[in-house]
């Protein structure tokens, strides 16, 4: 159970042409668990996820250590990386509107994952894709299979993408705001599906989100990022006991059901948060 899937040590990422690093010395390890990375937009949380899949052309990525299972990620060639991406490590992206190919049927896009990584017939891939669409609670999956992205709702698009990314049964799934486009009723279902997969198949999950409720309920551990650094690491259950003023500020800024109607607390950003390391 406690086998390490991913080891990251002192990860630094600088975008091409940028004067400073977007991610500054991030270290963490991931076992067969659900790890949440929270922070505001611009904190570098998505950048970390993309760097793991090497999806940052033009950016300089350095790390003392960056291991995925038995692989040393920085030393892999692009050709070897193609066998990792989508097969052993996949990423559920933020916005289905921009992440699905607008001129291909959604079902074919899902089946492509299977066709690409496994030797199989097209009919077989289609069956796999249909089963996966059903697993993400798409009613009438045969009809949806033949639809184009503009014909389905944003929520359904996100479920299609989750189906696509889980079809190859990867070891590590990086979910970048996987449910921010979904309704709260559907969101729980989808998160429960993800949760089921992580538990049943021993998949490691990195959940990148700005939603504290989400990581509280669906992660084991949480990293809180601010301005490219990890400011605090907590067990998800202990989120309310957070010590760092930034984490506490984020928690206080959130409206709560049954809360008072007093103006919400607004984050008072301190310059020293930029430099300290948890």
């Amino acid at each position: 159970m406690e086998k390490t899937i991913l080891e990251v040590e002192n990860l630094r990422i600088r975008y091409g042409g940028a004067p400073t690093d977007a991610v500054r010395g991030v270290s963490f390890t991931l076992g067969r668990e659900r790890l949440g990375i929270v922070g505001e937009s611009g904190s570098g949380k998505s950048t970390v996820g993309r760097a793991l899949l090497r999806l940052l052309p033009g950016a300089t990525i350095t790390a003392d250590r960056l291991r995925f299972a038995e692989l040393d990620l920085p030393s892999l060639s692009e050709k070897e990386m193609l066998k990792v991406r989508g097969r052993r490590m996949s990423m559920i992206l933020q916005d289905p509107k921009f992440s699905l190919n607008p001129i291909r049927r959604v079902g074919d896009q899902v089946a492509e994952t299977y066709l690409r990584h496994f030797r199989c017939s097209k009919a077989e891939a289609r069956d796999k894709a249909l089963a996966m669409l059903e697993a993400v609670k798409i009613r009438d999956s045969k009809r949806v299979y033949d639809q184009y992205p503009h014909e389905i709702s944003g929520g359904m698009g996100q479920r299609v993408m989750i189906a696509m990314m889980l079809l190859a049964d990867p070891d590590l799934v990086i979910a970048d705001e996987p449910t921010s486009a979904l309704d709260v009723t559907v969101r729980l279902q989808v998160l429960n599906i993800l949760d089921g997969l992580v538990r049943d198949r021993g998949i490691g999950l990195i959940m990148i989100s700005h939603d504290l409720n989400l990581v509280r309920n669906f992660c084991d551990r949480v990293l809180i990022m601010y301005a490219g650094r990890i400011v605090e690491t907590l067990a998800a259950a202990d989120l309310d006991k957070a010590k760092h003023p930034y984490t506490r500020g984020l928690l206080a800024a959130q409206p709560r059901i049954g809360g008072g109607r007093a103006p919400l607390a607004v984050l008072d950003r301190r310059p020293e948060w930029l430099e300290e390391i948890a």
Partner: protein
């Protein structure tokens, strides 16, 4: 000045005869003057469409929409724009990337032939808590929260009575959402605006709205007071499910 909104049998139908598709089968609700009324429901349930109908951005509907007792359909465009304004979901998409804040705010003033433009622009930008120097910035020089403030300033500059808020904070971080919600709350207290707010976040509804309607497949299943959320006192099964899921998601109960 506060206005009421009355929406009766609002319906949109595409096509005729047996193949006609009803998008909104018939929506009826009323909003008191100065009230914050929430519209919640799953995506595709017609929440935003209702706002687009009220604002006449979509005008193929049937039924009646009365704002301050007057039918919105009969209101001349110029008058309608001074009566109601809309704030959209995505501050990255709703501001022209090549227009400065000044241009954005000036245009409605020119169209409506209002004087004291500089003064009005300064007031609008100050009202939303931005420094006056921001008038000369372009959208790419602003953060998401600042852009949404500009979008709100644009809605305020014609001094409307009714603000239609289409998920005004769902694209923003919680910390920034708090600032925008506080701003909207303050403006309502100061000016007596009537708000119709579309959102999918019941915590935001609980914080902002007095009453809210739960929509499903274009229909309003139930109109509830905010007090119904914490104990899930909804009667319609879908409304119960929605509130239940939100409570579960918050992990509060």
């Amino acid at each position: 000045m506060s206005v009421s909104v009355e929406c009766r049998d609002l319906a949109i139908t595409f096509g005729t005869g047996p193949t006609a598709a009803k998008v909104l089968p018939g929506v009826t609700f009323s909003v008191q003057p100065g009230e914050c009324f929430g519209l919640v429901g799953e995506s595709g349930s017609g929440k935003s469409t209702v706002l687009r109908c009220v604002s006449m951005l979509t005008d193929i509907w049937t039924g009646d929409i009365l704002i301050g007792g007057k039918p919105v359909r009969d209101m001349p465009l110029i008058k309608r724009c001074r009566m109601l304004q809309m704030v959209f979901q995505d501050p990255y998409g709703s501001l022209h990337p090549r227009q400065s804040v000044r241009t954005v705010l000036n245009e409605p003033l020119v169209i409506h032939k209002l004087g004291d433009r500089e003064e009005r622009m300064r007031k609008a930008i100050t009202d939303v808590g931005l420094p006056i120097s921001f008038l000369d910035r372009f959208p790419h020089q602003l953060s998401g929260g600042q852009r949404q403030r500009v979008a709100i300033a644009r809605a305020l500059i014609l001094e409307p009575s009714l603000l239609l808020l289409d998920e005004p904070t769902s694209a923003l971080d919680v910390s920034v959402q708090a600032e925008i919600l506080n701003l909207l709350q303050r403006l309502r207290e100061e000016r007596g605006f009537t708000y119709i707010m579309v959102t999918h976040d019941l915590a935001v509804v609980d914080h902002m709205c007095d009453r809210f309607a739960v929509m499903l497949h274009g229909e309003i299943t139930e109109v509830l007071p905010r007090e119904a959320i914490p104990g899930n006192r909804a009667t319609h099964p879908y409304a119960r499910e929605l509130i239940g899921a939100s409570l579960e998601y918050e992990g509060a109960h």
